[in-house]
Symmetry: C2
């Protein structure tokens, strides 16, 4: 049966995420995966006992559980973002936050500016709305302010989408100066900021993490957070904080698309985050991931030396590796998979084609043990070496 006439043009154009496709491989027992964005399940706490939670069996509020929204108000206040319950929407992970924001603001007539490269699953939802995505170049301190100004003036965008802290895939972290300059530019131009901040708690160095949102004076904004990197991604719980004008519109879309987020998950997260266990848990995550990050950095230097380029990220889960001249990331992926090591080419993270988009690998240090990581990087280095000859 041919159903193509029944699909919308945006649906037909959708690609399955390469990352999610590769997850099938990563779940095979023999595979050493550096590819996924999965946190280490060994670091996930047990769920709170059901008996200590509010009854969550009945339908609930579209905006989310009051108890969880209170927790989120306090969490973001600690980041300098002072808001009220009414401006918090609980979502099924920040992925759904991206989708709700896209449905509210983007259509075929819209351009959205992003970092280049950027989080590929954000591009998926932007494209599902038919939006035009325009990548803007970055340097080591974040998105280039000059390039952003040019892009705003040339494309008349609806919004700018940024992941300033420990970005997926590059691991970059914006300098305070860059945050300030971007905020000033967005204020000047009145452009909507969509700030995505899922990695901030996975921080291994003293770096500035001021939300750009808090530096804005006039421009509208939407700020997204997630519990998936620090607690239980299987519970699919994140949030959007919005300037007040957006809040009722966001709730209406949430109501229309799935009524509300699973209440049991919300209550579990509220209970854990409000407990004295949470700060200690974050410290434990930071220590463990820092150790893994340092091990990967050391292994890369030891095994690959000058052959590849990378910056050691100050937080998050990812190294972004530039391969030697002429070596294709797709070839490396295929070769490595034959030796049971899974790596992710950088290509899908580029919203626009880029002359060098086949030159990068994203390597996650979150999930393998130190010993497995050592082994995986050793195999990867042999694969890269072979392709260089």
């Amino acid at each position: 049966m041919d159903i193509s006439h029944l699909l919308t043009s945006h649906a037909i154009n959708m690609q399955a995420s390469l990352v999610r496709e590769l997850l099938h491989y990563s779940q095979q027992p023999d595979i050493l995966s550096l590819a996924g964005g999965l946190p280490d399940e060994k670091l996930m706490p047990a769920y709170p006992a059901l008996a200590q939670l509010t009854d969550s069996r009945q339908y609930g509020a579209s905006e989310g559980e009051k108890g969880l929204r209170e927790v989120i108000v306090r969490l973001v206040a600690d980041r300098g973002l002072h808001t009220t319950l009414d401006n918090i929407l609980v979502t099924n992970g920040s992925q759904q936050g991206l989708d709700i924001i896209s449905r509210l603001t983007l259509d075929e007539s819209s351009t959205i500016l992003t970092e280049q490269p950027t989080y590929l699953a954000a591009c998926q939802v932007f494209k599902l709305q038919g939006a035009n995505i325009q990548g803007v170049p970055s340097d080591s301190e974040g998105m280039s302010v000059l390039a952003l100004r040019n892009a705003i003036e040339n494309t008349n965008p609806k919004a700018v989408y940024l992941i300033p802290n420990f970005q997926n895939p590059t691991g970059h972290c914006y300098s305070l100066k860059r945050r300030q300059d971007i905020a000033a530019l967005l204020d000047e131009k009145g452009i909507l900021l969509i700030e995505d901040d899922p990695y901030r708690d996975l921080c291994y160095e003293k770096v500035d993490l001021t939300p750009i949102t808090t530096l804005l004076k006039r421009a509208p904004w939407l700020y997204m957070g997630s519990f998936s990197k620090v607690l239980w991604p299987g519970l699919r719980t994140g949030y959007v904080v919005s300037c007040a004008e957006f809040s009722p519109h966001l709730v209406k879309i949430k109501q229309a698309i799935d009524l509300h987020t699973n209440r049991l998950g919300q209550n579990m997260i509220a209970a854990f985050v409000a407990s004295e266990m949470f700060p200690a848990h974050i410290v434990k995550l930071q220590q463990s991931y820092k150790e893994k990050r340092d091990a990967m950095s050391k292994a890369l230097v030891a095994e690959l030396g000058e052959m590849v380029e990378f910056n050691t990220p100050a937080g998050g889960m990812f190294f972004w590796l530039t391969l030697p001249d002429g070596v294709s990331s797709k070839h490396i992926m295929t070769d490595a998979l034959e030796e049971n090591v899974l790596v992710l080419p950088g290509i899908p993270f580029f919203p626009n084609r880029h002359s060098q988009d086949d030159a990068f690998l994203r390597l996650s240090f979150a999930r393998l043990s130190l010993e497995e990581m050592q082994r995986a990087i050793h195999i990867l280095s042999n694969v890269i070496r072979r392709r260089m000859t």
Copy 2:
């Protein structure tokens, strides 16, 4: 700050659901609510113990937990719908099923045919995609086949959306003959059937519940089910069964919009439905709701007699009341609310304006105790009487 230039035209046109707005009232302690679509929480079982469930903390599969999809394959096979794991997508309630289907098939160029009146939250997601909704008249056996044929020939629709069993809001249940005739017409015309079946287990009479989907020979179809009416709506878990051609497209959209449904909720539902407790639980629901339905029927006859028209529904949760000539449902809602009884006017359930759309009330018998229901209907009858004079 004016943000209207940032919103899409579909988002601007969205109305908050009247039903959800009224929920705020229904949660006040003194209110007797006949308005909501909430099941009786007193009939909801306790959650299964966490210790007996698979670990669900890590990210999971976009299509849903394998254990739950196996359970769903067996459930729908009992209804005559024989399918495989690959054609089951777990969603955040069937509301998200509607949304995913809408995003896959509907855009500004699409017409979708529905019952008139129909489930209002379905219309919300159809409209969010910009689709044109065309209501088709029904008689006591279901949607009129002649009217459906005319609508197909006149509007060239993408799909027909039907709730054949104990529909929200009218409570109608299609005859087998009508199901067969509609299936034959859809086969003849090759029109996509979207069949929504959340109420089938709340069945109080011997009636035919054959999914129209199972009667199709050639037409494409999508079939939706829900656990919200029989188990725990707060866990937001439903499903879409699809003919094979649609399945990979549905999963890609699910992946893009929120990666996957909360895994803990899925595992709880799979555990309960697979246990010997489930059939006994369904029998208990049916007995309890049948008793409430009979009590409401009796109270309506006793208090309002010939003044109103209604059919006693063979299942589901709702009576659909036709008010006396010239009495406005909006006035009744306002008057009744002053006496702490909440009822829902039929207006929002009409996708197209209808000359008599202010003549109906939807009354839910699911949630009040027998004594409260008696009291609420008594107050409602006084309110109606007063408006007749």
